[in-house]
């Protein structure tokens, strides 16, 4: 039986971590994820977890310690945001290349500078090519559920990749909402024990981790990572199936909201999906065939599936909560349109960069996107596809 509670997104993430009871947590505080290590160190101080909490002196050391702990043969977790993830960047690549299934809770926030503590996705987008599985969460429930599924995915023999669970800083991390929690014992059963095949602390089989990997080998080792990333897609779906059997809550690679007969589709991630759903409901009442595709699994990117889900719509808008500053469009936009192109899907598509540095995105903003899409659907042309939503601009 699920337990009905009211928790913030950070509390939800910390609660999931408590129930997973990892062997090691190494973390350094940064707004807006600070509460996660705070709550967690309280669990440690009160003896409700078996975890060794390493209060490191930086995020670089947090990820380094997680790598050491995971390679040693234990389960290691951490949490961070924005500049914290930037400081980890070097180790983020090393964690995935050493094939260590570390789980990180990323509370999305704008990367400096100038300094800003509020939500956008520039931190996550900065590591999108780093070989981590990336799950996005619309609300506290999804942050909790994604975290409970994380180890089963990351530690799968065919995968062995680190995984980050993303949620929107402040918008969900600090908002208290209803949530269904699962029993500790049930979580323990679902997550299972961690028994790595090879690990540093096995004195019967000393191993060496992290070589100098030169021209004859690095290419193949990278290709192994790519294969693991491809394999992760099925594993994510399998784990979701088991999760649904247990909790009744359904998860896929993405969520299709009113997409079946949809003409005008928005693609987005995290909390903006909630705002968009409200707008879709309203538009539907007025007879507008609006719909939403909410990406849950951003890495591996479900390109084929996304292209297929969007093949019968008349216009698509991809919302990016980070600007790639490449004069072409945001990262999610590029992933979506290149997947559509490869699949021969010629639906006109535009990009909106929005919500940078915590700028509010209201239902009116989303409505304006659907209005633009209606226009595009009429003409069949998507002009100036690289657009901003809610930006103050002079007349010229």
């Amino acid at each position: 039986m699920s337990i009905r509670e009211r928790l913030s997104g950070n509390e939800a993430a910390a609660t999931a971590m408590k129930q997973i009871n990892p062997d090691v947590v190494a973390a350094f505080p940064i707004t807006p994820s600070t509460e996660i290590p705070q709550y967690f160190s309280t669990f440690v101080a009160n003896g409700v977890v078996d975890t060794e909490f390493v209060a490191v002196e930086s995020e670089h050391s947090a990820m380094s310690a997680c790598i050491g702990a995971e390679a040693a043969g234990s389960r290691a977790m951490t949490a961070t945001s924005a500049n914290g993830l930037s400081l980890m960047w070097e180790m983020i690549y090393i964690a995935s290349s050493l094939r260590l299934p570390i789980v990180l809770s990323l509370v999305n926030r704008a990367v400096s500078g100038p300094l800003n503590i509020h939500c956008d996705h520039s931190d996550a987008m900065g590591v999108r090519d780093a070989g981590w599985i990336m799950l996005f969460s619309e609300n506290n429930q999804e942050a909790y559920d994604n975290t409970l599924m994380a180890h089963r995915i990351a530690e799968n023999e065919k995968v062995l990749l680190p995984l980050m669970v993303c949620q929107d800083g402040f918008i969900t991390s600090h908002s208290i909402e209803n949530i269904e929690l699962e029993e500790d014992s049930e979580v323990k059963k679902f997550v299972g024990e961690y028994h790595p095949k090879h690990y540093l602390l096995n004195d019967k089989e000393p191993i060496a981790v992290g070589p100098l990997d030169l021209q004859s080998y690095l290419f193949e080792h990278k290709a192994q990572q790519a294969e693991a990333m491809k394999a992760a897609k099925d594993v994510i779906l399998d784990v979701a199936k088991d999760f649904e059997k247990w909790t009744g809550r359904h998860y896929g690679l993405f969520e299709e909201y009113m997409l079946d007969d949809c003409d005008l589709a928005i693609v987005c991630m995290n909390s903006t999906a909630g705002t968009t759903k409200a707008v879709v409901n309203e538009l539907r009442k007025n007879g507008v065939k609006a719909g939403l595709l909410k990406i849950r699994v951003y890495r591996p990117f479900p390109g084929e599936e996304v292209a297929k889900a969007l093949e019968n719509v008349k216009a698509v808008a991809v919302l990016d909560k980070a600007d790639s500053l490449n004069a072409v469009g945001g990262a999610l936009f590029e992933d979506v349109v290149s997947s559509m192109y490869v699949a021969g899907n010629k639906v006109p598509t535009v990009n909106y960069v929005y919500g940078i540095g915590g700028r509010d995105t209201t239902t009116n903003d989303i409505k304006s996107v659907y209005n633009d899409l209606a226009e595009i659907a009429k003409t069949g042309k998507a002009e100036n596809p690289y657009r901003y939503l809610g930006l103050r601009k002079g007349e010229n």
Binding site: V24, E57, S64, I67, G68, L200, D203
Partner: protein, 295 residues
């Protein structure tokens, strides 16, 4: 590693101090030692070994040790088996880019021994100056030029920085007197509970510019001139483990090394004098500390 490198005998004697029945996990900062002992698919290490990056051997090993503590507490590792944790870093990975990670690991009290093999410059990337490079040394980023005669700053005293962390055991040593000093300090460091630190002189024939066969002579001269004093600090109490009967002039240490060649040009006598003055004052400071902490 290069023919005649000072680091391998240092690493070997430290690992020899590990009891045969004990297992070790070694962490290594990126550097000469790492890139020459673990080139895929070959590892020279017979104990478990991990390398992640340049600046984080301390933090990486913190994680390994934390995992050990956690798994042991949960009964997930055999009770009667002991694992020791040893990190190796060059002066680049220890004095400079890895200082924060080292300081954090030591302050948190992980049960590990961090060994700096100090060759006084970034040798792996081609002999660039570090904060361990002695004053006036000619390196590729502190070249002895027409206007600036080599590195103009004094070297950092890392062992003292570590003493400032109030560790149970800090020592400075070198391959001297048939490795007795090195071996004994390694044994003490590894088997002292808590974080311990060893700073080991590790001459580099390429970077220092001496004939490869002179490795042990250079070690000897570094100690006999008091350029590299051998001492240990146990719970804050200093003990100088070797006091030369007759302290040699520092010139004798400088002369066989090409990196100090310009110090011997006419008109540059002031540089040797200044070098000597610094060696003398640091030696005196050490003698004073020994006296003060043993009262």
């Amino acid at each position: 590693m290069c023919a005649g490198c000072g680091a391998p005998p240092v690493a070997r004697h430290i690992m020899r101090a590990l009891k045969e029945e004990d297992h070790a996990v070694v962490a290594n900062a990126t550097g000469c030692m790492e890139v020459s002992t673990f080139i895929y698919p070959y590892s020279a290490w017979t104990d478990s070994f991990i390398h992640t990056a340049f600046e984080c051997a301390g933090a990486t090993l913190s994680g390994v040790e934390a995992a050990y503590v956690s798994l042991k507490r949960q009964g997930k590792l055999p009770e009667d088996k002991h694992t020791k944790f040893i990190a190796f870093g060059g002066d680049g990975g220890t004095y400079d880019i890895g200082l924060q990670s080292l300081s954090g690991a030591m302050e948190r009290g992980h049960d590990m021994t961090y060994v700096c093999y100090d060759n006084g410059a970034y040798m792996n990337t081609g002999i660039q100056r570090s904060s361990a490079t002695p004053k006036f040394a000619d390196t590729t980023t502190s070249p002895a030029g027409k206007v600036i005669p080599g590195k103009m700053q004094s070297r950092k005293d890392l062992a003292k920085v570590m003493v400032g962390h109030h560790l149970p055991y800090v020592a400075q040593t070198a391959a001297f007197m048939n490795f007795k000093d090195l071996y004994e300090k390694a044994e003490k460091a590894i088997y002292t509970e808590g974080p311990t630190f060893l700073n080991v002189l590790s001459p580099c024939p390429r970077g220092w510019g001496y004939a490869t066969e002179d490795l042990m002579l250079i070690n000897k001269l570094a100690v006999e001139t008091c350029y590299w004093p051998l001492y240990e600090v146990e719970n804050g109490v200093y003990h100088i483990t070797y006091k030369p009967a007759k302290k040699l002039p520092v010139e004798e240490f400088l002369k066989p090394q090409k990196r100090f060649k310009h110090l011997f040009k006419p008109g540059n006598e002031w540089m040797i004098e200044e070098f000597q003055k610094e060696v003398d004052s640091r030696w005196q400071e050490l003698l004073d500390l020994e006296e003060m902490t043993n009262k």
